[in-house]
Symmetry: C2
Subunit: 281 residues, 2 copies
């Protein structure tokens, strides 16, 4: 009998993960209640089986891969079903939530008899061409997550308790996206002060790898800026009020809110940034 893995969330990441797992011999279930015809088609294209919630609770492993705001809801939905399940296995939350939210999920699922593990996905959805993304898992003493490695995922087991994988995701996103916010802020300031051309020249000389990174990462950010606002607030909360980084990431949220507003208006800021980067995109 093949390994059965359930994935809650059949978005771009969830369905790509499902596809990779089915291609490596796993049977992959997902909830399809109330989903659009388009989503059900994507589920089937990925080789996943749309099932009802009781079948989910019979899986060998359940992965939650949903937007951060839905993470607690998934745990609440599953909690009674997992409590009633005859065989107990493990639930892994792979969402971009902070460790405090992860703790809430652990509490929600306490008493079900299931192991609750912390996960973080770093990288873009798997494709036929890529080996990525990486699946970090912490709190997995029983090595439940080895099933993922067995079925084609790039697993990175962390020798650390629940909370560490969520923290890793926060820290990595803070670095990566914070860099984009810092770059956008300074490039706009350069454009507004007559120093843009010299700045680009100077970066080309003394920070070439940063200029190259900005030429890709800043334009890639524009359409995602509205989502990053909430992510920056999540990172601020993770750092906590005693860390000066908390105010740093609240300000980052405002930087991205400004870009998001610009995207909904005339895209003038984006045009200025492209001009500084000499990126005609």
């Amino acid at each position: 009998m093949p390994t059965t893995i359930a994935i809650i969330g059949a978005g771009a990441m969830g369905s790509a993960v499902g596809h990779r797992l089915t291609q490596h011999g796993a049977r992959v279930l997902t909830l399809a209640d109330g989903r659009s015809a388009k989503t059900v088609a994507r589920i089937r294209d990925a080789g996943m089986e749309p099932v009802v919630i009781d079948e989910i609770a019979a899986a060998d492993l359940i992965l939650s891969i949903v937007p951060p705001a839905e993470a607690i809801g998934v745990a609440e939905l599953l909690s009674p079903k997992l409590r009633d399940a005859k065989t107990k296995s493990a639930f892994i939350d792979f969402n971009a939530i902070n460790p405090a939210t992860m703790q809430q999920i652990t509490s929600t699922l306490a008493g079900t008899g299931w192991d609750v593990l912390d996960g973080a996905i770093i990288g873009s959805p798997p494709t036929a061409e890529s080996t990525g993304p990486k699946f970090y898992v912490s709190g997995d003493q029983a090595r439940h997550s080895s099933l993922l490695e067995k079925h084609g995922l790039n697993l990175r087991l962390m020798e650390a308790p629940v909370g560490a994988a969520s923290a890793l995701k926060m820290v990595y996103a803070g670095l990566n996206k914070g860099l984009v916010g810092l770059g956008a802020t300074m490039l706009l300031a350069a454009a507004g002060s007559g120093s843009a051309e010299s700045l680009r020249g100077e970066m080309n000389d003394s920070l070439p790898e940063l200029l190259l990174r900005f030429q890709k990462s800043i334009p890639d950010m524009y359409p995602k800026a509205y989502r990053w606002v909430a992510e920056m607030h999540e990172i601020a909360e993770f750092l906590g009020p005693d860390d000066p980084g908390s105010a740093l990431f609240k300000a980052m949220a405002d930087v991205f809110a400004r870009i998001a507003a610009d995207q909904n208006a005339d895209g003038q800021l984006a045009a200025i940034l492209n001009g500084v980067l000499e990126n005609p995109a």
Copy 2:
């Protein structure tokens, strides 16, 4: 008769610039009133001549290279002397000040008959081995700064008004030092959440050039953190209250204040950062 250039400020940068200029045939004057024997010795080693203020006002070019907080004082000190000078030439402020402070300096020297130019030095003090740093100058329609190029400095003339060179310095420092503040914040958060080892591995995979940069720039920052606090506030002021970057750099100031306090205490944060970076320095 050789070109005479006066440098106000014979610190590490000022005296190294003086040395470079004298080696390229310029006569270089500096104010020595009330300076320590050590400073006077450094002035002489650099081939510069310690003079009284009236001689400064007879130079072909005056450069101000002092700590940011002293920039306005230099202009106030020189103002009456420049007004009385028979031949008028140019004064270049090369200090790390924001464009509003540069405007104050222009006002202070208005009516002296001298051209007031805006400059920014980017890079480390000149040495026998280096071609750097770069000397950016804006507002120089009359091309006074060509004297600097003629005497061995790496000049970058900006086709932009007074204020642009100061802005460039703010923007470049904001990028470069902001990156260090962002890195220190996230690395400390990783260490506090059990994700440091995974973060370093992930950075090694997906952000290797950033990890390399941090391995040098974060430890280099510790002894300078106390100075960077004021610089971050200066950048916040430059961006202005309507720019979300203003709050960003106020938070950066707090990040460096935390490191500066740690340097004055037991250096525990520095030790944690070195551990994450695997930098035994």
